[in-house]
């Protein structure tokens, strides 16, 4: 196959195109450092974000919390989360539970179908989906659906998928960090730019007086809180 053909199919991304690509104001992801990594603009709407991590608990939800807390009037869909999204913690973090919808599908086919429908409809501010192994064509469909609906899609996959190709506009690899409320992010792919190496972000939110789901930082503090219910 010639280079022209590859270019025509959009299989090759040209760094020289970025200058001409129109810049649209994106959606801030709520973390200044991450916004900066994304050209200081956050996520471009109408894109699919692939988040890779090994297992739950590395800070994958805390990374999205500011964005989720900002959405109050439109639906946020969580499709097949691996555990129970814990309502008291989400509420404390300022997420509008009225517009948070959990969807349980029966099969991988249904899951992809739900994601596609939700992204296409354009009536959700964010659609979160937990996917395992999926064919690359499915990811391409999802990216197209996101572009059509103009919303943001977040799909969470295992970090073992990092070497597979993906049609998602953004790919992030998350790794847990020892220091409290931090998270290591490597940008494997982003719109209009080169990949960025691993960088440690702080998940602490400024100007947020409420105690969120962030962890207190004093290790060893063991003030016994005894609560006798009833």
């Amino acid at each position: 196959m010639s280079l022209e053909q590859l270019l025509e199919r959009g299989a090759v991304w040209r760094a020289s195109d970025t200058a001409t690509e129109p810049r649209v104001a994106g959606v801030s992801c709520g973390h200044a450092e991450l916004d900066q990594m994304l050209h200081g603009q956050g996520w471009q709407s109408g894109s699919l974000v692939e988040v890779l991590y090994e297992t739950e608990g590395c800070g994958e939800l805390r990374l999205l919390l500011p964005l989720l807390a900002m959405s109050t009037d439109r639906w946020v869909l969580w499709i097949d989360p691996p555990h129970i999204p814990y309502a008291p913690a989400l509420k404390a973090a300022g997420v509008a539970l009225e517009r948070l919808l959990i969807v349980r599908s029966n099969s991988r086919r249904d899951r992809l179908w739900c994601l596609e429908q939700a992204l296409k409809s354009g009536c959700c501010s964010a659609v979160l989906g937990w996917l395992g192994e999926v064919p690359q064509a499915a990811l391409r469909r999802l990216q197209l659906a996101a572009a059509e609906g103009g919303g943001l899609g977040f799909i969470f996959r295992s970090s073992t998928c990092r070497h597979q190709g993906s049609a998602a506009s953004y790919r992030l690899l998350l790794e847990p960090e020892q220091a409290p409320d931090t998270l290591a992010v490597s940008v494997l792919k982003r719109r209009g730019g080169w990949p960025l190496p691993r960088r440690v972000l702080s998940l602490r939110r400024k100007g947020c007086g409420r105690q969120t789901a962030l962890l207190a930082s004093s290790p060893g503090a063991s003030s016994a809180q005894v609560r006798a219910g009833g």
């Binding site: 805390r62 919390l65 814990y86 309502a87 103009g150 790794e175 004093s218 290790p219 809180q225 219910g229």
Partner: protein
């Protein structure tokens, strides 16, 4: 006010209600004694069959002819179904047995912005119905009927209609056979020749019946039709001509029922919230409920929802008929849609939610809400999609974003060595009143790779993982 009427003539109605109009294979409807053909579809006509032919002869000419049994009661039902369907175009509908529907159009022209647009609209909708139909307008109900039987016509003015009526052959008129023969015997071939004669002479020769008929035709004598009253309840049945074993094959029949439903809803200014679809079988039936959160009228919307619902159904036995009923209505309030919305390609959220519910089942979509209970597994609950969530004060203590569905047992030796305890204990003692007591000390722990988990220790010394700080 000038009158304008539309006559829709469905020449093959009893036949086509049982099979598709565009079907390639030849089919024919039998008369009551099952000896002769009553109606032939286009495919069988092309092969030389015609109404009135004996069954044996027809079968010898076309061996693969599909023979269908006619049913008088069913035919009346089908006509009513079409009247419901046409409720979308006019509020005044009259049934014209055996296979015609008359609509009053004059009062609807303004609403549909002229006859041309209305006519175009009707023709597109007729195509979607997949029935062969001849339609004609007329300045009187009878003129519309005569012109429809003569091949169709469309005009707005009475003079155009009168001119067109002149050329209708006497043989096509619905007069008594004896009278028609007499007229033809006298040398009349077109209606125009009859209309040119003085009424007194005609009455003298042919009796007052004919002149009265001609006066009703031209509009000199009032001829108000009996209007069809749209029922307050929608419950329609559609027998299928053959047994259906795959759900996709039901969609064809369903589309017809939904088209009738749309007309019914439009005529009443209602939208339907919930439909019940019964798949009738030789013994028993399977019932499905299809819902739309906000309510919808459009046949297309309902068809899509039904299709999604049907995908999840396995048929126990072959289906021989469909029954569709509306179990919940709502008034259609005007101005519901936002005219000035700038967003493009946006579905109403309810549309998306209904679609997901139909495919996955209603219990697969829920919201989560906090609950007033100290036990972590009971301090949240699934909540339905609409309605307000309970307002509760926030928990002062730190809680993880992920809660495990069932706590995971940890090896005792790992806690404190591999898993470092960062914060705690937080003692939760509760539930002694409902036989599910809880007595736990909760800690936040740090795993070797840096992940944070929520774990607890029971009085016996067992450690469990209960959540992740995701």
């Amino acid at each position: 006010m000038k009158g304008l009427w539309l006559y829709l003539h469905f020449p093959l109605l009893p036949l086509e209600m049982q099979c598709r109009a565009d079907v390639r294979e030849p089919a024919a409807l039998l008369d009551e004694r099952a000896a002769r053909l009553l109606l032939c579809n286009t495919a069988s006509q092309a092969q030389g069959l015609e109404p009135g032919m004996a069954v044996a002869r027809a079968l010898s000419m076309v061996p693969n002819l599909r023979l269908l049994q006619g049913d008088v009661k069913q035919a009346a039902q089908q006509l009513e179904g079409l009247a419901l369907w046409s409720g979308r175009f006019s509020a005044r509908i009259s049934l014209q047995p055996p296979c015609g529907v008359l609509l009053e159009l004059a009062s609807m022209l303004r609403y549909f912005r002229g006859l041309d647009l209305l006519w175009e609209n009707i023709q597109t909708q007729l195509q979607a119905l997949e029935l062969s139909c001849v339609s004609a307008t007329g300045h009187t109900p009878l003129a519309a009927r005569v012109l429809a039987l003569d091949g169709g016509f469309c005009a707005a003015d009475a003079t155009d209609h009168l001119r067109r009526l002149q050329s209708v052959p006497i043989g096509r008129l619905e007069l008594e056979a004896r009278q028609r023969e007499r007229l033809q015997g006298l040398g009349f071939s077109r209606l125009g020749e009859l209309l040119a004669l003085p009424a007194v002479e005609l009455a003298h020769r042919f009796g007052p019946g004919l002149t009265a008929w001609l006066e009703r035709l031209t509009g000199q004598r009032p001829d108000p039709p009996t209007y069809f009253e749209i029922p307050a309840v929608f419950l329609r049945e559609l027998p299928l001509a053959f047994e259906v074993e795959r759900t996709e094959a039901l969609l064809f029949g369903l589309r017809r029922l939904l088209a009738q439903l749309e007309g019914f809803l439009r005529a009443h200014y209602w939208r339907a919230l919930r439909l019940q679809l019964d798949l009738l079988q030789a013994q028993g039936q399977q019932s499905l409920v299809v819902g739309h959160a906000q309510g919808a009228q459009s046949a297309d919307t309902w068809l899509e929802l039904c299709r999604l619902r049907l995908e999840r159904v396995t048929l126990d036995r072959p289906v021989i008929g469909l029954r569709l009923g509306v179990t919940e209505f709502r008034e259609l309030e005007a101005g519901r849609e936002d005219l000035f919305s700038t967003a493009v390609a946006q579905d109403a959220p309810t549309q998306l939610l209904s679609r997901l519910q139909m495919r996955l089942g209603e219990q697969s979509l829920y919201r989560v809400a906090p609950c007033a209970d100290y036990r972590p597994e009971r301090s949240w609950k699934e909540a339905p999609l609409d309605g307000a969530l309970p307002a509760l004060p926030d928990t002062p203590a730190v809680r993880p974003l992920w809660l495990l569905a069932s706590p995971e047992l940890l090896a005792r030796s790992t806690v404190g060595s591999v898993i470092k305890l960062l914060q705690g204990p937080e003692r939760i003692v509760s539930g002694w009143w409902d036989q599910q007591p809880v007595r736990r000390d909760y800690y936040i722990g740090c795993w070797p790779d840096g992940r944070r988990g929520w774990l607890y220790c029971e009085p016996g010394g067992d450690w469990y993982l209960h959540g992740w700080f995701g």
